[in-house]
């Protein structure tokens, strides 16, 4: 337990405090907001990929489900933002539950099926035939609940909770059990771990994080198209950030987002092809030369990584 407290004071509190203070000195709030969203998504990928070894290639499906759960609640039932937030989270968890049969698949099969599932949800949501329900491809506008300050605060709270969850996983029996399943699911089962249940809990927690992130995203930007919230870039960025920093740790994904997303924004987005090129090359180099992320370098230098 003292170790967990240690992590909370050294990682969770400084990160949350930074994002609470920065808006007063830095005027581009949208950028800060995006940083928080990506830290959440990278940690969400970390929960399922880092701790259980299942690569969710359709992770954005939960993000989009959250965004649409939130929006439809506001549009059709005129719900208050916090109620809608719960609805968005519930939408993502329900989608996660529907996809639990995918765990019958292993390795690449799981990833491909997850990707296909996310694309299927996107096709349904953006289908013109469902315009009366989802506004189809024409996008969502939530001017009624637009309140960037409140939304930013809610995001900060969710970010804190996400980090708390990952710190818990890193230091608890449950997290150990997940890692044991990742290394060898049969041995883990023999050691008395309920493999199926624990894995599904991790999966639903991961979906919950993305669903909450999607909900606050919808709330904060308030105008968006289905392509925006189902964009594969969210999945890719989250995976690359987590991978770059180091999966299965608390600090890795945070480092990944701060460094890579920081560079991404510092250089500017004038010609997208060059970014795509640099990103693609970076991903390849990472996999070939640093498959365990930045934290593996730190570990080599004898630094204990939380």
């Amino acid at each position: 337990m003292p170790k967990m407290l240690h992590h909370v004071t050294l990682i969770l509190l400084p990160v949350v405090a930074a994002f609470a203070i920065l808006p007063t000195v830095y005027s581009n709030h949208l950028l800060l907001f995006n940083f928080m969203i990506f830290i959440m998504l990278a940690q969400g990928v970390n929960v399922i990929y880092g701790f259980t070894g299942y690569l969710p290639f359709g992770y954005v499906g939960f993000f989009g489900a959250g965004a649409y759960g939130f929006s439809l609640m506001v549009i059709h039932l005129q719900a208050s933002p916090l109620v809608a937030l719960a609805a968005g989270a519930a939408a993502a968890v329900v989608l996660g539950l529907t996809l639990t049969p995918l765990f019958r698949l292993s390795g690449a099969y799981f990833s491909i099926a997850n990707l296909a599932a996310a694309l299927a949800v996107f096709q349904v949501v953006s289908n013109p035939n469902l315009e009366s329900l989802t506004k189809g491809p024409y996008g969502i506008s939530l001017s009624g609940v637009f309140d960037p300050t409140f939304a930013y605060g809610a995001t900060l709270a969710i970010l804190g909770a996400t980090l708390g969850l990952v710190i818990y996983l890193r230091n608890s029996r449950f997290g150990m059990a997940l890692q044991a399943i990742r290394e060898d699911s049969i041995s883990a089962g023999m050691a008395g771990i309920n493999v199926v249940r624990e894995r599904i809990i991790a999966w639903l927690l991961s979906a919950l994080i993305a669903g909450l992130a999607g909900s606050v995203f919808a709330w904060y930007v308030s105008v968006f198209y289905p392509e925006t919230v189902f964009s594969g870039e969210f999945t890719i960025f989250a995976i690359v950030f987590a991978l770059f920093g180091g999966n299965g740790t608390v600090i890795g994904p945070i480092l990944g987002v701060v460094i890579l997303y920081g560079i991404y924004n510092a250089v500017g987005i004038s010609t997208p092809q060059y970014f795509q090129l640099i990103y693609g090359a970076l991903i390849m180099l990472l996999v070939l030369f640093l498959p365990n992320g930045l934290v593996s370098l730190l570990r080599q230098w004898g630094i204990n990584v939380p």
Partner: protein, 307 residues
């Protein structure tokens, strides 16, 4: 309508088999997922396009040039990426990310080189080639134009693409089952470690399979302007997902199952287009998830993997 959908589905099915075949060969031999498959198809399409625009080479002879070029590109690419990848802890998963990176690099370079505008080759060009072949075979002149099969009229380009795809699938079958190298390739597919133990040069066999895989993808690209519509640098991802659907239906890691997968996919695609066109885009994804859940090993698969 029914006969039309069925026949068009068969033609497209043969073509979809060709699309999936290279990907399945690579997965079967190396157990890695080539997420850049669709991008090699796109590059093949562009090579055929430039050959046609610059030296007005007909797409049919262009097939051979495209295949050789990409098979040769595949060999160094294999040695550059795969052996290093296979040493990692979880190659199958990491290959996913690695080849995604490659796909991004290819797409970006293609966008920088060719721009984002859509390009196409006139469908009549492919028709001219099969008219020449048909005239030669039957001994008298055949008119260029739509082709009649069982009273249904199809564009000549569809028929030519379908036939050429069928021939390509047949050649892969001959390679795998009638040549010594194909025999070794199948040995590596069945059991990699045992193949190493029996003294097979696994890297050489795999590199050749990788080259053939890329070659097949690029050959499928030659027909892309006729079967998939215009070509753009960004078309790769969608093609990759389609290829996955096709090979998963057939069965992952069994190249000949791809033929079955392609035809099932092609026929159901055409039926969706004819009867429920507004939901047709949903088909590949739903079919993919459904097949994976009901029969993860694919329709022809024997073994069921452990969960």
């Amino acid at each position: 309508m029914l006969v039309y959908s069925l026949l068009a589905g068969l033609l497209f099915g043969l073509y979809f088999s060709l699309i999936g075949l290279g990907l399945n060969l690579v997965f079967g031999v190396m157990r890695i997922v080539n997420l850049a498959h669709g991008d090699f198809l796109m590059l093949g399409a562009f090579l055929a396009f430039w050959l046609f625009t610059l030296i007005s080479l007909n797409p049919i002879p262009a097939i051979f040039i495209v295949f050789v070029v990409f098979a040769i590109v595949g060999l160094p690419l294999y040695y550059l990426l795969v052996p290093r990848l296979l040493r990692a802890k979880d190659p199958e998963m990491l290959s996913f990310i690695l080849f995604f990176g490659l796909s991004q690099v290819i797409e970006a370079l293609a966008t920088i080189a060719f721009g984002t505008s859509e390009r196409s080759i006139p469908g009549g060009e492919l028709g001219r080639a099969i008219v020449a072949v048909a005239s030669l075979l039957t001994g008298h002149h055949v008119e260029n134009g739509p082709v009649d099969i069982f009273g249904q009229t199809f564009p000549a380009a569809w028929v030519a693409s379908g036939i050429a795809s069928g021939i390509a699938v047949l050649l892969v079958y001959v390679y795998l089952y009638r040549t010594r190298l194909g025999y070794l390739t199948r040995a590596v597919m069945v059991h990699r470690e045992e193949a190493i133990a029996t003294g097979i040069n696994v890297h050489r066999v795999s590199a050749i399979a990788f080259g053939i895989g890329l070659g097949l993808a690029s050959v499928a690209g030659v027909f892309a302007p006729f079967m998939l519509g215009s070509i753009t640098p960004a078309m790769g991802v969608e093609v990759t997902v389609t290829s996955f659907t096709v090979i998963v239906i057939g069965s992952l890691g069994k190249p000949l199952g791809t033929l079955l997968g392609g035809i099932i996919y092609g026929v159901s695609y055409m039926f969706m287009q004819s009867y429920y066109s507004s939901w047709a885009n949903l088909l590949p994804y739903v079919l993919l998830v459904a097949i994976l859940l009901v029969r993860p090993s694919g329709l022809l698969g024997r073994q069921v993997r452990r969960a």
